[in-house]
Symmetry: none
Subunit: 401 residues, 2 copies
């Protein structure tokens, strides 16, 4: 990939507009017949494919299954190895928590343990969000701080919460306590590096006291913490690419990821229709739009082929309205694949469709995993998608004389 | 890309011969119909494509539009980010100026300014080369040196000249003075780094005195300097690849680029026929030939589809004669794309054709941008072209035991 300082030196501000439509977990694999993208009726995406060019992008590197963090970071044009975003930070930014520099954030689960201390349910039976709030309030009231480290707790939903540790010299090198299995004890929050020993001690004390507070609970009688992390020092899309970017997403995590790279988060509703309406309303205010469609991934994780297919068809129906806005560049892709067969993220590359006035049109006339393998873009790292979008919007100057 | 020291350790001298035919700005994009390369009648190139293999190469990185410097450097097998060649050095080497180590070279334009000092023409109405020579002589005579820094001036053509500053401790970190716009003043040659302050002062004084000398001129009454640069420390193709390379090019800049990496510059005429005759005449003397065809780029920059197409057809007609020479490896490509629609360099990858006795033949039987997207080489960085040429000439030993 091109070094950051080079792309920064080439980027120019301009009015041309880019839309990136991301169907989360879009890519799939065939189970005998077709993939959801192949089986879906997508006349508008196919038309765009015929007028544009296709390729396959690797979120991180061939064979690597990415989490949502690296999958988005790379698509936003950042090196996913250099800018690793911890789970805790992701979770916190996803509920609009404003983290301070050096805050140590972690993802918390309420969980159930038996009398022997063995974890019987890592999600405490998915308690209600109301119950979650009651418990978080109790913890926050009883444990405001430990050794001058401020404890800041926030409910997310169901069994999930965020625990942020704010104080001097906190280190992220602390192991998560979630054993990722039942019938075993939770793990100790051990220091992975010597500098993190004090941090680990604070975390351990927090867990000990939380267990005391929760001792009377039937289901949520313990907590599991993981993804201890701090804000990455990541340059904004404004600074790096001279873009004025906005994000439209129904799920907190994706808003959080977008915020981390400097995108303005637009208020939107719960449906895909809401999202495209938000795009239309804000069209004149920004020159880069990230539209995140969640349900393709959710249904992939459920193994629900038909539902995933229908989400793709729904997005397809909005394409003509998107084109009417008159974008200079339109990119449609996934962040990673979520095959229904695997019911999880996978390493398969993303179908990537790029359309602009200056595209080198290829011979491929439909949008699918297989057609993308024959596309004019070939196979490339997802981090190259941003320079391609910028170039097609004429937002990059020539490199060298 | 493979590290330089590795390729150097693998390269072996041998008599096998490589020809690299570079049609500058070859790649294009379709405007409704075909690209010039698709529309051109190229039976010989297509035959070569059928017998060889194809791919698409990125001069620098996907989305990055390269100048001629990085586009050639990468095709010659050098990292275009590591070896950045400034405009001044390019211009100087392109007119056969022998630069010394640490010479500070810059590209000069004669320009016109009005009474208020605003630039009204960045090229002084493209004055004749004769007028240019008269003015350069006057400047050279009146300003032989400044503060022990020798000033060396050379006419290029029309409004262009080269200004070289030769002296102790000159630094290239000086901003160009060309505002790249009219109706504004020229910029100050400011020091970009503190070490360059004295250099900036010398440059500023040179411009002040040049303005005095030119005060009576009607059109060329000021100068603009940009691309302050010094010779890069670049290993020669002899040292790195153990080649004995020669360059055939009608335009100075490309001879200059070839000389920078150690190629011997062969005298040739103005036409494509002259160039191929020069190739034939010198066939026994070298084992790597770089043949540069300029006009594909020139016509691309003019937006002249038909003329670009005809240059490609002309090159095609010489292919049988080139093959009769009996090269071991024949590569045909561009350095960057120059689409007629954009009338400028672009980011689109280069069609790349590689032919040798040992090629892995693919299924593609014609030479075009779209066919190259389906070629057996896939999409790869242009810097990988040199190892591929060397390998196919059996000039690279096995890596590792």
């Amino acid at each position: 990939m091109i070094p950051e300082e080079v792309i920064k030196s080439l980027a120019v501000e301009s009015d041309s507009r880019i839309i990136l439509i991301l169907m989360d977990g879009l890519g799939d694999i065939r189970q005998g017949g077709k993939t959801p993208l192949e089986a879906a009726r997508t006349p508008n995406l196919d038309f765009l494919a015929a007028e544009g060019t296709l390729g396959l992008t690797d979120p991180v590197s061939p064979g690597i299954t990415p989490g949502s963090g690296p999958a988005h970071v790379s698509l936003f044009g950042y090196d996913p190895i250099k800018y690793q975003i911890g789970r805790g930070v992701l979770e916190a930014t996803g509920i609009d928590m404003k983290l301070e520099k050096n805050d140590l954030a972690s993802r918390g689960n309420f969980a159930t343990r038996d009398e022997d201390g063995l974890i019987t349910d890592r999600r405490a039976g998915r308690i209600s969000t109301e119950e979650n709030r009651r418990l978080v309030d109790a913890l926050q009231k009883n444990i405001p701080e430990i050794e001058d480290v401020k404890i800041i707790l926030r409910s997310v939903k169901e069994h999930r919460f965020v625990a942020v540790f704010r104080g001097e010299n906190l280190q992220r090198g602390v192991a998560g306590t979630d054993p990722q299995a039942t019938g075993v004890r939770s793990l100790a929050p051990s220091a992975i590096v010597p500098e993190a020993e004090r941090t680990a001690r604070v975390v351990m004390e927090f867990i000990r006291r939380a267990d005391e507070v929760l001792a009377g609970e039937k289901r949520a009688n313990t907590i599991l913490l993981r993804g201890f992390s701090q804000l990455p020092e990541i340059p904004s899309m404004q600074a790096l690419f001279k873009l004025n970017p906005a994000a439209i997403a129904t799920y907190p995590m994706y808003r959080g990821l977008a915020r981390l790279v400097g995108m303005k988060i637009l208020q939107t509703g719960e449906t895909i229709a809401d999202e495209f309406e938000t795009l239309q309303k804000n069209w004149s205010r920004f020159n880069f739009f990230f539209v995140h469609i969640k349900k393709t991934d959710s249904y992939g994780e459920d193994g629900n082929f038909t539902a995933k297919l229908k989400v793709i068809e729904e997005v397809d129906e909005f394409i003509p309205r998107v084109r009417e806005l008159g974008p200079d560049v339109l990119a449609i892709t996934g962040d990673h694949s979520t095959p229904c067969l695997l019911k999880s993220h996978s390493w398969h590359p993303n179908p990537f469709l790029l359309w602009s006035k200056y595209i080198r049109v290829d011979e491929v006339k439909s949008f699918s995993e297989a057609s993308c393998a024959w596309g004019g873009l070939g196979r490339l790292p997802a981090v190259e998608a941003m320079p391609l979008m910028l170039a097609n919007a004429l937002k990059l100057e020539k490199f060298g004389a």
